[in-house]
Assembly symmetry: C2
Homo-oligomer: 460 residues x 2
């Protein structure tokens, strides 16, 4: 049992990311300046884990580690590094180390590595590549950012339509340039346009005499170099694709996108949505303090305008508050409930738009549904708050006022939460990024105005 437990722990450490004992040993080796121990410890780690390690340790530890180890850093580790750190690390590497590291990479990984670098750094890396690779990378960089052209790898395994399984296998055995990972043999017509594909499993399990065209997959899809990577990732997820041919404007095959790239895009887009909804730009833990503060400042500033607007509403009712201070005590409750209910509706709307579950077809149904939910919860919390206000302040009419204000605010929150993202999306603005301030403005202004306005009419 105890042994099983130990084995379990070991396995988990091995399988799921960095083991803290290994990290401790690495930092010890760095401190001791022991480059042999360091190299042997890092050799056992996956490039993704080494990148995580570099991101998680402090700046001075990172520089010390790179100083001791830099000669052996490989292209995969550079690829895995967070963008915010990549520049720093690349600047730190001797030119010949960098050149050797990038020469190992596939063209799509080089593109991913350099597309966000400064021009001088880009040139250093491009110069390090062999002539043909450089041309391929430069070609990819001519496609728009976030397009299928940037995402695809150019190494593609194709076969003429008329080949048999045997001919294809003989061809594959003779070639030595095959990509590390490929999942289909793509059938092309004489003009190099993709027409179908065969999975490697079908190829392996069919007799040599079988024609490729008799074992192609039922469904065949291709994407254009200019398609957005987000749409491509959606297609992978929706249709359970494993790889997809990429064609240029003349329908000729120019590359292939595989599921691991699509998975990375999906992951990034999700991350972006979460952070944008919270008013945090595309920030990462590796960003510097000032950069982080600047990015967040912008969002908080927009929020400040919203908050001041709400305060202007409150200021209109200064006399009422002066006469009944309970209004000042209770008003933040109405605004806060409205803000939270609005965020709920808004988040569901933003996600449903992203996953294409919310469309023109069902928009009206979804809006009616949100209004119904807002009304139900508005009634519920109206009743609860009426009870709280009555007990706390003993003014029955104040209870009636807060109940009605709560209902109005939660219905407005539901409406704003769903309609604002839909409208922003319709006008081509990312609803994840821009909905928040609008929704908060609606809920704050309606919340304060409904509560204080009703109070001024009914109570005073």
């Amino acid at each position: 049992m105890a042994e099983g437990q130990a084995q379990q722990t070991e396995r988990e450490d091995e399988d799921w990311g960095l083991d803290s004992r290994v990290v401790a040993a690495i930092l010890d080796a760095v401190e001791a300046g022991d480059s042999i121990a360091l190299a042997s410890l890092l050799e056992d780690l996956h490039a993704a884990d080494i990148a995580d390690l570099l991101e998680q340790i402090g700046g001075s530890e990172r520089r010390a580690l790179l100083r001791l180890w830099s000669g052996e850093i490989d292209g995969d580790t550079l690829s895995e590094l967070d963008e915010a750190l990549r520049e720093e690390v690349i600047e730190y590497l001797p030119r010949e180390v960098l050149a050797e590291a990038v020469r190992e990479l596939d063209s799509d990984d080089v593109v991913d590595l350099i597309e966000d670098l400064d021009r001088p750094q880009q040139d250093i890396i491009l110069d390090a590549l062999e002539e043909s690779d450089r041309a391929a990378v430069q070609q990819s960089l001519t496609y728009p950012e976030y397009s299928a052209g940037r995402l695809m790898q150019r190494e593609v395994v194709t076969a003429p339509e008329h080949w048999t399984v045997g001919e294809t296998i003989d061809f594959l055995r003779a070639e030595d340039w095959l990509p590390d990972q490929f999942y289909h043999v793509i059938l092309v017509d004489p003009r190099h346009r993709p027409v179908a594909y065969v999975t490697l499993g079908r190829l392996l399990s069919s007799a040599r005499a079988v024609k490729l065209r008799d074992i192609v997959e039922d469904s065949f899809r291709s994407v254009k170099v200019t398609d957005e990577e987000g749409d491509v990732a959606y297609a992978f997820n929706q249709y359970h694709l494993i790889s997809v041919p990429v064609v240029d404007e003349t329908e000729r095959l120019v590359g292939v996108i595989t599921i691991d790239d699509a998975m990375a895009v999906l992951d990034e887009e999700h991350e972006e949505d979460i952070l944008r909804l919270a008013g945090v730009g595309d920030e990462s833990l590796a960003d510097r303090v000032l950069e982080t503060a600047r990015l967040r400042f912008v969002w908080l500033f927009v929020n400040l305008i919203t908050a001041i607007l709400a305060s202007v509403v409150i200021a209109q009712f200064a006399d009422e508050i002066d006469r009944l201070v309970a209004l000042a005590v209770l008003m933040p409750i109405v605004a806060s409930m409205g803000g939270n209910a609005g965020t709920q509706s808004m988040t569901v709307a933003v996600r449903s738009i992203a996953t294409r579950d919310l469309t023109v077809r069902n928009a009206w149904r979804v809006i009616r549904r949100e209004l119904a939910v807002g009304a139900i919860n508005g009634l519920g919390f109206g009743v609860i708050m009426a009870g709280v206000a009555a007990v706390w302040f003993g003014v029955p009419m104040l209870a009636a006022v807060i109940a009605l204000a709560m209902l109005l605010t939660l219905v407005a929150a539901a409406l704003g939460g769903i309609v604002i993202p839909i409208l922003l999306d319709r006008f081509g603005v990312d609803p994840a990024l821009a909905s928040g301030p609008f929704v908060t403005t609606v809920t704050d202004v309606v919340g304060f105005f409904a509560f204080l306005g009703l109070a001024s009419v009914v109570l005073l």
Copy 2:
């Protein structure tokens, strides 16, 4: 040009989800009761698109469509349906249609289909399966929910370690039970424990005489049936895996998980995080209104407690507000800024914990970093609000008070936003679900208390 445009539109519709003209034609066929037109329209659609269609149309349209078409619904469409709708649709299907639909599915898809159904519905589907499939599904259901055992498919392609490429290909050609998609041949020892794997690409490009053990992948990982699906998905994403063998407690091979399943899990977990951060449970657009209202009510109720707590703080300063009503006007600004800054820090923390970028190793560094960001923005907004307050109310000391309150609140927001998720995670509570109310309590209470408390000391 115009033709190119039209072609582009057509392609987009074909590639990315449902074409609204197709949907219109389908609804027309349903209304006309034309089951032949309906069947031919639906035949061209991918199962995932049919499921989306069923989710997006209204309840009565859905029932009419199923009535006309139900005989031809297939297992894939049922698999793709949102959980909230699956029960409704299954209930609506004649038993023999249901039986035929599920018999086409792989064991992992059947498990996914039935694991959330009520017992009687589960039994109907299990009864429809053939004896051996039923046993496989029942075995999978004995593994914990959200475990690798639930996620894996049991159809695995294996070979003894000593085989050659030729022997393996002959074996694959002879078998007729191979899974639809597989990416590796897994080498097993005599006790059926997986020891390595070969990609199909390597198999196809190697000569018949080559030994499998000479072309295995460098890195080999397996997961346990009891591992959490979230951890498995993390490993796929971190290490760019394409498929992974699953072993039982005796290390024997029992199944395999492929990247499309891992991608689906990653997608779900992201979705869950986004919705939980916004205080929306695991809700979908297909849920009924009352169910949605109930789920959101719970979260809003927790928020109400927080808001009342803040109001209690305000009530302590009723006299001060009575004497200077500007306090009531300005106080929501401080609380709102605190709430938003807290949400920013909290979201970054929650995501960094989920992606394992925030660990014990760098927690202190990240906390210090957040505090610095909070202090910088606190100073910035303190100065801005001092200006606003001075101009608006002409009371210099009020400007000083709001500046200091803003600084204190934004620092508290930064601290709460980062420390609360870390602590919740340490205690085994999902930080995405639970951080919000705690962080809001901190920012509201600190915000109101700092502003009104300072005012009472300095101003009155």
